[in-house]
């Protein structure tokens, strides 16, 4: 089982490298790859993007949507050929998730700090109607500097949404440097706990650990769960790993094959 999840993660990274021959955010998309692979190929109950009983996923760190497009292609929700439409004039695979044109995108996002409040509304809807589906949200660690994240965290705890799960892709890098240097809120697990959540910290590149944590939710009854996944930006390609530049760089044509080979 872990083999197939790891191979899905490898496919995400290869697709991301190909998609990011233009445009920014390849590094962040690669740090999320293992988390997304576990969510979509192990954790979530998601056979079809139209199934009302499906688990919901909100890509709140919307700038890393290329990794999600790869997952949607691997799930068969979009055709694999469409990955070539990423950020192409007149096509629908935009640089941030936009609901409507791409099956499997649950909510439009991209402005940071919007995903969690929307996910709170989704989870609340399921709780009200006593429906069993769950809502998962992926956020960046830099994103957690947005105040609306903590408004959402407080409301989720107040509503006792134990069907809501946040995963923070904690790569300790953001637009201009280390999160802990720019605006230190590096005690994320403690912060979520103090807001009334239960938390777990995992290695965000160890699929077995991520899977174990996601199988254990809710960690406590009547509490939302937060998983702080320690990750490395650009994970999988040495030149890209933990490098701020890869928040911005595109993958040069002449390096694409070497980078992909390195993933094998």
């Amino acid at each position: 089982m872990m083999d197939s999840i790891e191979s899905a993660a490898r496919q995400i990274r290869k697709d991301v490298l190909r998609m990011h021959q233009t445009g920014s955010n390849a590094g962040g998309a690669m740090s999320s790859a293992d988390i997304l692979a576990v969510l979509y190929f192990d954790t979530m109950n998601l056979e079809s993007p139209d199934d009302p009983k499906r688990d919901r996923f909100v890509m709140s760190k919307g700038h890393c949507v290329s990794s999600l497009y790869s997952v949607l292609a691997q799930k068969g929700f979009i055709e694999r050929d469409r990955l070539a439409e990423y950020c192409v004039d007149g096509k629908l695979l935009m640089g941030h998730p936009t609901r409507g044109g791409v099956p499997g995108i649950e909510a439009s996002s991209g402005s940071l700090g919007h995903g969690l409040p929307m996910a709170v509304g989704m989870a609340w809807a399921a709780q009200k109607d006593k429906l069993g589906w769950r809502t998962f949200v992926l956020m960046g660690d830099g994103e957690c500097q947005e105040g609306s994240v903590w408004e959402g965290a407080a409301v989720a705890a107040r509503l006792a949404l134990d069907n809501l799960i946040v995963i923070v892709d904690a790569n300790n890098l953001q637009g201009y440097g280390r999160c802990e240097d720019i605006l230190p809120i590096n005690t994320l697990a403690a912060k979520f706990r103090s807001f009334g959540w239960s938390t777990m910290e995992v290695d965000g590149h160890d699929c077995a650990q991520i899977s174990g944590a996601l199988k254990a939710v809710p960690f406590e009854v009547s509490k939302p769960s937060a998983i702080i996944a320690k990750t490395v930006k650009g994970k999988g390609v040495r030149e890209m790993e933990d490098s701020l530049g890869w928040h911005y760089f595109s993958v040069p044509k002449e390096k694409l094959q070497d980078f992909c080979d390195e993933l094998e």
């Binding site: 936009t98 609901r99 409507g100 649950e106 909510a107 439009s108 996002s109 991209g110 402005s111 700090g113 919007h114 969690l116 409040p117 929307m118 996910a119 709170v120 509304g121 989704m122 989870a123 609340w124 809807a125 399921a126 009200k128 105040g147 609306s148 408004e151 959402g152 407080a154 409301v155 107040r158």
Partner: protein
Amino acid sequence: MRTAMLKQLSTCMRADESLHLIVADTGFHVFDDLQKEFSSRYMNIGISEACMIGVAAGLALNDKRVICYGIVPFVTMRCFEQIRNDLCSQNLPVTVIGVGEGLTYGAAGSSHHSLTDIAVMNALPGMTVVCPGDPVEVQHAVEAVLNLDGPSYLRIGKSGEPLVHRDGLQGFELGRGIRLRQGRDVAVISTGNMLPTAEEICEKLLAAGRDPELISMHTVKPIDRELLIDVAGRCRSIVTIEEHSVIGGLGAAVSRVVTDEGLAVKVQRFGIPDEFVQEAGSQMFLREKYGLTAEQIVERI
């Protein structure tokens, strides 16, 4: 206006089990009855307007209809980007109700004034912007916005606004201004709580031998283009009146139609100038300061 809103809201919540009301810790005791009757569909979400709009979007994405309520600046400008991205770009049926239009909270100071909210809500694609002229219009407007498929902004006063439609109102429709008097001289068009003043202006003009037309333009977006074309065919001039900045509100919307359609009519816009109020003042004191009483306007027409 708030009482009319509450009354209609409970009727609508009784009829539609998907309808939810979220408030951002505003309206002391105002929602007691609603809360009692619809305890599972009412929530005071705390002082967190940005989150309120996001939560409403999440509910609406799962077939709930949601009303978000608060004081105008905090439910429009504080959470503007959530309204833009979460509600408008996803075209979700969420209604934002702002209480305290214009200078309702006059003495509270400019943080609580709502003089630019129509402008910013007008700028959002897909948004319907409604400013009812009296409590009767409020009642009809609440029902109407809750039947829309997309987002809407309903801007209301608070309490004590006089009745203008004293014999009730038939055929209220969003996007269709209400003609209260037909005339052939000057068309007095108001939005929101300036309707009673507009009515008073017409009475004074009439007494002075003029033949004014009176229109309540409760929907600022989409503006009633057809009605304005019709007005321009009969009247020499249009006067717009609003308790809102002269930038981006009713006067701007009317001027846009006049320009787009090449209408041969003079437009005179009355509103609040492009500035922050710098002194304490009741609504009436501030209206007078900015030349918005019936007497002051008639003198300048």
